[in-house]
Amino acid sequence: MDHLLSPEELDFAHQMREFFRTEIPEDIRYRQAIGQELSKEDIVTSQRILNKHGYAVPNWPVEWGGQDWTPVQRHIWLEEMQLASVPTPLPFNTAMVGPVIATFGSQELKERFLPATANIDIWWSQGFSEPNAGSDLASVKTSAVRKGDKYIVNGQKTWTTLGQHGDWIFNLVRTDPDAKKQAGISFLLIDMKSPGVTVRPIELIDGGHEVNEVFFDNVEVPVENLVGEENKGWTYAKFLLGNERTGIARIGDSKVALARVKAYAAATKTSRGTLLDDPLFAARLTKVEAELTALEFTQLRILSTQVAGDDKPDPRSSVLKLRGSMIQQDISELMMDVLGPQGIDFVDSREVPTGFTTLPPGAVDAGPHYYNYRKVTIYGGSSEVQRSIISKALLGL
């Protein structure tokens, strides 16, 4: 991509490249690069370094630690971060609740939360989805009833990613049960240490613990934790969901993952040579490479238009999500195919008892990753939702 950049942009890219590869601890980047699950500490450590240098929340207002960057610069920042295997800042903090508070919160809320959010002193969780809601996010049932200077919150949220680490949770709650669906929803911040909050893990088929259910049983929440106006929460939620659409393609991550597939394939012996020489495997891999390039240039074309000043919503963002998630799944499947019989087991480590052959690279994560990545076409607006968005823009039906 370098040759497409202006001299200033290229300087910026080099600066980012250098920064990520020297300032973020190598062990964290190594774990990220080889598909290991990162600890909470890894994520916090990395984000704090970013934040110290002003690189954790570039999308925020400058006053709150953001950067006055062009869309291209933001893209370079994210791409270089992913290519360097630096964990991206916690999206619940930086892409979700932060921008909402910065845009719709009171001065008091901003001061209270934004610095701690950028620096991940508070780990935020997301309390949007509810059981059986699926893509119908506005069907919020969790209620918040005002009683004096408190809300009493009752209900249940689900699919709360990394909620086990959460300090606070931002929620959509129903404050007016009589209003129509989207009306009557408020955006409420809740301390997860409050009495009545319970977090229950959801076990996933990848064997990991990534998402949770969060229960609210008569939880008392001070009214000052309301963001913006009561019953206007749906507006803030839509703002939140519309943010950061271009990053959703995760192209840098996919490049790293594909490079890894390729390196492993070259090191995998088959009865006729290496797997990378196998015509059918190589053809599938090559097609994904070409498609990933097509995806990248689709993203760049969108950025190029944004530079030109057009900022209205673009069905091409849905193309990025639709196709970007397909490519992530394709890569996870190629990785499974590289491992072959050794990608079937669920193991915690490549280490084996003395005397046995060490498991090949990828043996730990290939399988779980494949199963886990079934999610990428479901969450963040499923593929079905993206197709509906695109066809609406295309057909106007």
Binding site: N132, I344, F356, Y371, R374
Partner: protein, 380 residues
Amino acid sequence: MDLELTDVQQELASTVGRLLATKYDAAARDEVLASEAGYSESMWSQFAEIGLLGLPIDEDYDGAGMGFAEVAVVMEQFGRALTLEPYLATVVLGAGLITAVGTDEQKSELLPGVAAGETKLALAAYEPAGRYDLTRPGTTASVSESGVTLTGEKSGVLGLGAADRLIVSAAVDGGVGLFLVDPAAEGVTIDVRTQADGHKAGSVLFDSAPATRLGEGDASAAIAAVIDTANAALCAEAVGAMEASLKMTAEYLHTREQFGFPIGRNQVLQHRAADLYATLEYAKSMALYAKLAVIENNPDTRHRDVIAAKLVIDDACRHISQEAIQMHGGIGMTMEYPIGHYAKRLTVIARTFDEADALTAELAEMGGLIEARAADLQAG
């Protein structure tokens, strides 16, 4: 032409189906899954009781003397219920090989125990460096006056942990021999792992481990044949699991509501479900094709036909497992909901004994299924 199940086979299917419906529902299975052994001894005994373990074993060795057609019936039911017991390892692979190459004495020693549910077997044939290759074991047999010993490492041993006796392939006399090994013997180290689908498998290290030769002569053909049979058995199991997956998905589409109506009203999901149905029909047809190939056992076509079947079924496993989760949405990714368990088993089946690309290339090299012929060209 009659491709339907015989009355006896239908009765067998009902018997197994009823047993599993009552004793092996999702909750019971979750318990088995969480257990240390990873399978249920009590179910195993019940399988023995109703004759499933001796199904293809000769009557002389206390078996039922039936054939692969009946085994396929059982495997399909097992697929439907997603059973975790080491039936493939013990009955299809283990007893299959003993029947194929064992001496009368060895058969007498081992097969009645299998039929009675007292002996479990496992085939240790794959190796870490060999991927799916079975023809060139790095494990070697050393024959001396004091007996035979094996040295080497095996991986992907299905049913390891449960097995009372291992059947091990090793290089001997310039060919491949099979050997019986007691997993508790000195010089044998086992490392049991859990597959993504919950089945137990793992690796075995042999360090001059005492062994007995199973039968005599080169066993390559017998190994290839039993893997064909096992692949045909997996085809049947996959069909059961896919049929259950599709049924579950259809029910979900029918009952799950969103935006005020069942999500199955979405035409997009209807048509995609229809494609799943078509894929399942293909899979059923090819499971039948593989079954007939194994039963006919024509050396010119058996392997070719089985891999053709497995190829189509691997694709079906992928299509149905991926779409079943996608159409369920997030709930489909949770362990508490059954569909993900089916998806995992199907994903593993598509990677057991082979991989789709290699099967495709192999089938092409064998000349495919249809003879090249054009009226305006000389045969060529």
